[in-house]
Symmetry: D3
Subunit: 329 residues, 6 copies
């Protein structure tokens, strides 16, 4: 919607209105330039543009992954469907547009990768996937500083603090298959926490992450996520990372993960779990510095695509060679 | 809505729900933290906060105007009603909330001064005033780089490129009493220009402003504005000023007025015309540098308040003493 | 002193000149907008304003702590006394003003929380507390990249590199109950180090912190701090954190703690030790990016207030539930 | 060369290696991402990318000019040939590549519009045009704070302070048909000024511009430029504008034109003179704020294209309607 | 005091404690890194460093003035005495240090050029000059948005809003030979204006400057300044320029002069009046963007030095050649 | 080449053309302001200036290291030879100039410390050292996100992605004594990896660093580096650190080391290995925020100098006192 019509690092375009343009796609990038749901700083409308284009290498649809030795933009069929039209003032309409796009992509057998936009979009994102994969059959791994399980925001049911409640309420996904990693801070209030507990949500606050270690936490999450579900949706709010290193976001909460931790963890998820959808949200370019947050978000997409390809080749997290050059040539 | 609850430079608060809190007000500041109508950069939601607070002097509700020798915050009863709740995603609702607030303030005999927010808000602003002053009896002087007379934006009738058309269509104000100053650039297309001409709008493009001089242009505008109307609404889009000197805005168009020109002109309007409402819009703090755009917008408000007070004391533009100290003590 | 008159996240105001306004206070916020003592970058004068207001949640005097499940702004009586008038050029005068304010707050039984300002203010801060709690009876835990134990700065005894020496010289606190965490870099010279050793100071340079681990270091510090002292003053110079993640400070020294480490550590201190005073200093907003350093400093205050409340309810660091939702509802 | 492959505001692409792709072009945009010639700040390599894409309107290859009532992107055949490969370290090679591209475009009957890049590129730009239009038959109107007539820079004949000397030395254009507008500051030294005078150059320093007025100066320039020449090349160094309003440039010299003056003047040139080539140089995005300098440079291109189209329709500067709406519908 | 020890654009150093190092100096640069007097944003302590070094040309002690054809750094003996030690917290001490330095330079027959620092320094600057040139025999031309004639600031007689009153009170200069250009805004209050009028001050508010034109205003000022006085001190507060183009300052007031106007005017003063001292103040680098304000301040110094040299060669404002190249070689 | 002529934190100057000026030097700082080899963002030309001057302490040629208790600027003879003239457009010439300077410094028995500039300079840096220490007798420890072993860049053999291949091809250093730490991302492609493996390079990708721990990795590197070599050259590309904390660089790749890790590691290398040359590259000030990247690079130099001095006093990494004050006085 904003700026020149470009694709994610130069991958081929497709048109979700024309099925032949995305036949056989492994993954379809969808831009969701929506920030009407933000309760504080906006700017995430420029997230899709910046996540697509922020890189120093040529936009040539090739990214050989150094550690995994796969090239996801070459060896997966990754297409970019452009931005969904999302007029923020029109209530449910922009969200319905997005849900529809995600559904179409999923029906085609592709993994939809939605570039936000504020976190409101996870509501239509997971809904669109669940309509295809199975209502209540998709688990969610949700990286965030915030639980996003509020009920009402300024009198509205739409907002970036509410999508996880909407999803669980609707049954699109089960509360007890909803994993949250990186929560912290001073929100929400007890009634919302009570609601979350009642749903059986498993939320890893940073205190737990620090005390037990991120690896232990993720292993527990992995078990839950794959128990009686048919696929995992991964939602990455970039504010899960410490805002000291990822300032370009709307509601920064100090004390988060490092960028390295996030990249390793999403790579591992992509390798070890059956991912059926991804969104990367809350990148707010006007608050970024030297595009470092956009770079990080771009790499979250690349790490997951690389992991997916590596998994398809039979790889597992433990099979990643520890040494770069010597033992593989 | 965002940040601490502060008033414009420390003036007294009022509550539009409680008539006794604003009895006898000369002017009422109303915050309109709305940027869901922006077609490009957002951020104007923080306009009210920054226009209220950006100053280096104490927030003590006193501002002795150096050139006019009046103190509008002391000698006018200026109150601040805080922000109207404006959830951007809820279509007409936030605009209706604002229109209602403006209407209440106007009914109380005060001049409403609305701090935007994107330019969408001029639709409810002028409507609210016209409901009290008289439907079609308010002329508008509109400073802007853009005509804002578009018809539809992403399928919606709401948006910061459309409010002037909505206003004229509704009859709230007459097209032939609608004055636009500072237009330039590459928008709109011919059909919209045709519609504007049919309404009898008088729009001063920068070419005309430069060739004839701003003074001549304003004199012509003054005559039209006071012809068979009962009051003037002044809408100042900060992008009328050259973005080289006012970068904190959403849709910057090079080649505008200087800050000095804008301040002089709004002062003059306030002194020489019967102002019944004011809005200052499109200040987008995330794109500002050293708050220079917010400073300018704050001064637009102060200049107009000072002019209004000066006018009430019988002053005219020509009666302003040219020399600061000697002939007045 | 600068900008609108606001309180820390909307807590109630008090006036230190009027005892009834702060009767029964648990903690009193005091702004110390002083940066005349800075040897390099200034700007800390805007620290109080930014630490008070930098947040994305409503300024509603409520902050439910996610991990501890307490709400310090609701369940403690936290008041804000506004800024002390501190004309930087007037030598001891501004510091005396501050010392007096801190003393008054402490006498009332409240924990003073002073928002700096440069580190010079710790001199009056600890002095004011010690006058009430007991001369030489307050230990100090001091987070900083720098020892701040210099003797003279540009011929003056006042300065942000000197306060710790002033405090120990005066006897307000004992050198051998002065704990420093996070030191590093290329200062001071040997004579000052010698003086520090003679006072029995225990200073944990980053090499020690890295080699032994922050936990081990803090445990040693906890023992010393509570040995024959009646309370602990916590002084947090935000430059203890790596400037790569907290750039908004005056004398940044690479190689510091992470924000997560700082937040965990001050939370733990507040839970496990008898805190009698706090200051948070050296936040310099003009050098900050996207307010990330101000966010961090705001959270240091919230973490400590939350810890204090948690401690009052009988909690200990080890009693913090490791799991967010399941075992507490 | 840098970032995604986009065209100027969405115009059609062409390939200078394939003549059929640019047959019938009226103007061809050529990117020259070269900043190896900069003597101080670099960054102009990102000029082409930003000049092409910096706008808030859709990149839809349409820009209806408000004052002139023409749409240059629709009614002229404007193509974009992408960036010339310009490896800065390879001496003359990148300049030869550019000269060749300009020559090819000119031979095809199109006006080449080169987006710099530092000012070094004007050497190949004008040379490429002169090879087609006629050696010594092209006059140059050069907007700049600097004369760029130095002889040697760090021992090299290549550099952004030297191109005008190279051009005149080679005979590509005549010194006495070389017009410079906006010079100021403290360079060059007397021998270079002497050389310039000997060539018969006519350089309008800002003192002259201010004292005589820009209009008078331009009228004199117009006469010289059209005397015994077959076309005019217009070279716009964005630093001709005051850096207070156009900070994104490498060698900013205070005291320049306003943006409004530059836009009016280039529009007038395009309407009243036979333009055969254009370059816009020295936009350095890393030093820009809120993209205001890139916006200005984008508008320089649009104003000139609009003027060229207006001229083709028989328009003259004096025929521009002074009033926007009334007298044309 | 801050950063590496450098001189103004590479001129020779001198030591005010060693008379032989500055014998025969025409002008002596003195750094005054003092910002303890600022009432709002600080940062002017870095003014001297940035004004000395902000340029893109080599720091080679040569600056051939393009319009005047003189080289002030080569043909005047300009020395740089480095920074005066000014510990801001020590009340009068730093100001006394500065006054002494200025006096020494003036006694040696040099024109002192003091680089601020905040405007407090004009008190010692003019005092130091008046002690040599004659008590009450120096007129002052003062460029500023603010009158700086306040009486007391936070209980102190020291501050950047007060120096002009201090100077007139002491008799160092006469109120009726005190010219102020560029005032505007909402300060001071009537009693201070009354005091100013009683002193016979002549203050040109921007309204007068705009209505009469800057030239007319300056001509009137010139007459007063040279009436029964022995020399003119020129004090340039960079905030006289519109903050839209000079954002790097502490108390920005919209609606000021253009940079071009300031440069022309100080050049003219230096050519047409007997300048005996200069200061350039209130450059605050942390608020600057791309160093544009520091560039401007650097040029103010160069324009005045160039004008002084041009005057010594018998030049007058009217003798400046209007044409750059043709009539002088 | 750019800005005032300053030395690294005030150390004495020397002139590589005059042997007596650097007789007995322990280390010689050499500026390499070259960024013509950058494939994306430039700006590293200002690296030498910023690395030399970015500090808050006086530039007094003294830096007492807090943890090691040595003062490298006082107790080592560290000189600064200024910048090598490096006109970027002149192909090999600037690199030859640099190689020559490095060779001269090494021949004099000093350790050359080259401040870049982009990474191209490591080619001449190591070559210059190897010509003296022994062709193929220098091992390299290379911190970087990128392998920099490309073959050709835009048709050129010169570029910041290629120097390591040039060095190994020439035999200046052996591929199997080339250690790379911190690699990550999506480059290079398989053929280049194959070439690297064939050379016997040992490259530690971040996956290995994280899985095995940095200490284990460095111990392996130390063994290789000292096996049959006569000295170690250390090349630090600042982008080895996570760009979230070191944004001021040209090709930022998320997921790197922390600043603390880098400082500890280079300190350890300097203490435990025979360092014969150092370069610190890819600091790009225009993309930095609050100079945090320049601070870090400055500290890399100080840590290595301190380590070198500590080693000369017989110290080892394990001999560093873990406790700051108590056991050493």
């Amino acid at each position: 919607m904003f700026g020149p019509d470009v694709t994610f690092l130069g991958v081929e375009r497709c048109d979700l209105g024309q099925p032949d343009t995305f036949k056989g796609a492994d993954a379809i990038i969808i831009g969701a330039p929506y920030d009407a749901g933000a309760t504080y700083r906006g700017g995430a409308r420029f997230g899709p543009k910046m996540i697509r284009t922020t890189d120093y290498l040529p936009h040539d649809s090739s990214r050989p992954h150094l550690a995994l030795r796969v090239d996801p933009l070459k060896d997966l069929r990754v297409l970019d469907a452009g931005d969904v039209e999302m007029p923020g003032m029109e209530q449910r309409l922009p969200l319905d547009n997005l849900e529809n796009a995600v559904r179409v992509a999923t029906e085609a057998g592709a993994i939809p990768i939605i570039l936000g936009g504020d976190h409101t979009i996870t509501w239509p994102d997971v809904t669109g996937v669940a309509r295809v994969v199975g209502w209540g059959r998709v688990s969610v791994i949700h990286f965030d500083a915030h639980a996003d399980t509020g009920d009402v925001q300024w009198g509205s049911l739409i907002g970036h603090g509410l999508p996880m409640r909407r999803l669980i309420e609707s049954g699109a996904c089960r509360g007890d298959r909803f994993l949250q990693i990186g929560l912290r801070g001073y929100w929400p209030e007890p009634p919302t926490l009570k609601w979350m507990a009642e749903q059986g949500m498993r939320s890893f606050e940073m205190h737990e992450v620090v005390q037990r270690g991120l690896d232990a936490v993720m292993e527990e999450a992995f078990e839950i996520a794959t128990d009686d579900c048919d696929g995992v949706f991964v939602s990455v709010d970039v504010d899960v990372v410490d805002p000291g290193t990822a300032p370009g976001t709307g509601t920064p909460e100090p004390g988060g993960l490092t960028g390295r931790q996030l990249l390793d963890t999403v790579r591992r998820i992509a390798i070890d779990l059956p991912v059926v959808g991804i969104d990367v949200v809350e990148v707010s370019p006007p608050y970024d510095t030297a595009e470092i947050t956009a770079f990080l978000a771009n790499r979250v997409v690349l790490e997951m695509l690389s992991g997916i390809l590596y998994r398809r080749g039979g790889g597992t997290w433990d099979s990643i060679p520890k040494t770069l050059l010597e033992d593989r040539l």
